[in-house]
Symmetry: C2
Subunit: 385 residues, 2 copies
């Protein structure tokens, strides 16, 4: 396998982008990535998107987006692993360049979620769970993660306040990110007094509904060296794994096994261990998720994710800053785009261009993108050369 580099990234400010169509926001981000990379052609496109069919009545977005980007007839394929679709697209692009088949691949993610009402959005997101056994019986995603939270509190003594601290930290970071959908700072009190969604999770424990796209350009390290003389970022490790799609089929409701397996694959490929990671962007779709993820990635001991966030170790300036970008919580969560946006933040950090939220001296960054209640997970490790 050839070495692969990320040589360009781009995304717009996320939010309720009612004046723009899915094709518009994707092309906007793709052009930013192409400009950042300084390339004048691409060989192929891979696009992560969870449910353009249910959100905007449009499948076949590979063809649509290659066409509107002016890139046809290059091959263009959509990949989907629910909310981990962006991460899966990045991995497919990585494999395609590593194989030698293509030299320059545009990987992107997009989701246009606010063109439907809240009930329809909740239904569309619910299709990431096991519809026949979970959805048809009435469970929604906040409900699934609420059970995960209750179990973690019961088994490990995690507190309601520790959950809130995840949201407070991520909004603090997001307030320094000009592209974040909800850049306001919040307090623990505000989280605890916000409206209940699924006990114990309140609205400020939940990531929002978002329109947004994100794109990155991958190429062989050999070609990258010809295009750019500095700030080269190598894809050091890639891992992906599955778990039971249904929450009730798991031995352990808080272990996030797919994340642990994917992380081990990525650590092994990169020749790194958790303590080598300088910063991580992880899938905080709900506050409890970030707590469980820090354990599954090996940053915190099993059961101690709540204490880990309370200690301040995951803040910028802490031992291992988590979600310096603001995470899904503050930056927004257009589900198919999230995995690529995580890569974008790590690239900006490793290039030392993250402004006010820069993690000093960052050389190695990790991304963890998750689908459903953990049925899929994708982990990547990037390294500055």
């Amino acid at each position: 396998m050839r070495d692969v580099a990320v040589i360009g990234v781009g995304m717009q400010k996320w939010g309720e982008l009612w004046e723009k169509s899915l094709r518009d926001i994707f092309v906007e981000s793709a052009l930013l990535a192409i400009e950042d990379a300084g390339v004048d052609k691409i060989d192929s496109m891979i696009i992560g998107c969870m449910s353009s069919g249910l959100f905007v009545g449009q499948e076949h977005i590979g063809s649509l987006l290659a066409d509107y980007l002016g890139a046809a007839p290059v091959p263009a394929t959509r990949v989907e692993t629910a909310c981990a679709s962006g991460g899966a697209a990045f991995r497919m692009g990585f494999i395609e360049v590593a194989s030698g088949l293509s030299d320059i691949v545009l990987v992107g993610g997009v989701e246009k979620m606010t063109d439907v009402g809240g009930d329809e959005a909740t239904y569309a997101l619910g299709t990431a769970a096991d519809q026949e056994y979970e959805g048809f019986n009435g469970i929604t995603f906040p409900g699934l993660y609420a059970m995960m939270a209750r179990r973690h509190m019961h088994e490990h003594g995690t507190t309601r306040e520790q959950l809130a601290m995840v949201a407070v930290k991520n909004h603090e970071n997001g307030s320094k990110n000009p592209l974040a959908q909800f850049p306001m700072k919040i307090t623990v009190e505000q989280v605890l007094n916000s409206v209940m969604v699924a006990d114990p999770l309140r609205i400020l424990d939940c990531s929002p509904i978002t329109d947004g796209a994100a794109a990155a350009i991958l190429c062989s390290l050999e070609t990258a060296r010809k295009i750019k003389s500095n700030r080269l970022i190598r894809v050091a490790g890639s891992g992906q794994a599955t778990d039971t799609i249904a929450f009730h089929d798991r031995d352990d409701l808080t272990a996030l096994k797919s994340t642990a397996v994917a992380a081990n694959m990525a650590y092994r490929m990169a020749g790194k261990k958790p303590s080598d990671i300088d910063l991580a962007e992880v899938h905080d779709c709900f506050t409890i998720a970030e707590i469980c993820i820090t354990e599954a990635l090996g940053f915190a001991e099993r059961g101690r994710g709540g204490k880990f966030v309370e200690s301040g170790d995951t803040r910028i300036g802490g031992k291992i800053p988590v979600n310096a970008s603001g995470g899904l919580k503050s930056k927004g969560h257009p589900v198919g785009a999230t995995g690529i946006a995580q890569i974008i933040e790590v690239v900006h950090q490793l290039r030392e261009e993250a402004g006010e939220r820069q993690v000093k001296g960052a050389r190695v960054g990790l991304t963890q993108n998750m689908g459903g209640s953990g049925g899929s997970a994708v982990v990547h490790i990037l390294e500055a050369l």
Copy 2:
């Protein structure tokens, strides 16, 4: 890139499989492929599916199907390029094995289309076209292909009878395929007298709505040689391309540019030309499609696809048998599974196990899978070693 072989294939009889769920039919076909391959583990899964979200309210089928196959925690990703999703899944699996990242990959396709009514199925299939410019203005897929047919008749003198001959030939072939959904033989008169769908296309010009799945096992040629001593099938060429998603944006309505580009990529990789191909499985979603495709693949001269089918050259025993399996027309068209089923037919033919429909002495076979009105196309060339 490493050489890649197809070592196992499997599918069930297609049709209205109301007693089975999407997960059931996929697992059924996957187990047949695993048994045929004689492997006891897989490293990864790639599944083509166009619109499980709209057809059965279930996204995230990578996790679902890995789980129900008992294969979790292996990575599992769904890929989508409308009706070319199966072909795109095969190509992604090919790239993954060729890269060296994985050694044994299960590639599959699935679609469960008959759990919704006809209007809903027409809507779901319409999401493969440009919804904002085509769908919202009322065009359906039979309408798009009817325009393609009218244009071909106008420019090249193709006759209504020649369109019918495609259907007659494919049902003749399908009558010899025990897995075909509609194995009955039909006549030109029956096609011409069948109910009108979109002038000039009648119901017997159209492929059906189908439930079905298909699977294949890819592995490195090196590993294949250890597992099987004979009947090895190598993936000699792979190509994929896009065109404008909207029909009205094309210079030429009958040229199927994405197919021509993808075919040239595959021919170049395989070191083959059209005259080297012993049989082809192509995307006859409507009779006119097969006529245009035989031209785009270089089997017939431009504009002479109608005369080509009339000549008998595309029958079994002809110069280049097309759709010996019965094609989408007779075998059925569960959209995400079709591209993999084309591979299965070519594998059976190259192994000389196609029974009554065997193409004698077949050594090299081609598959062409298409999305939308030609917005995507995927072409593969397989070769018996």
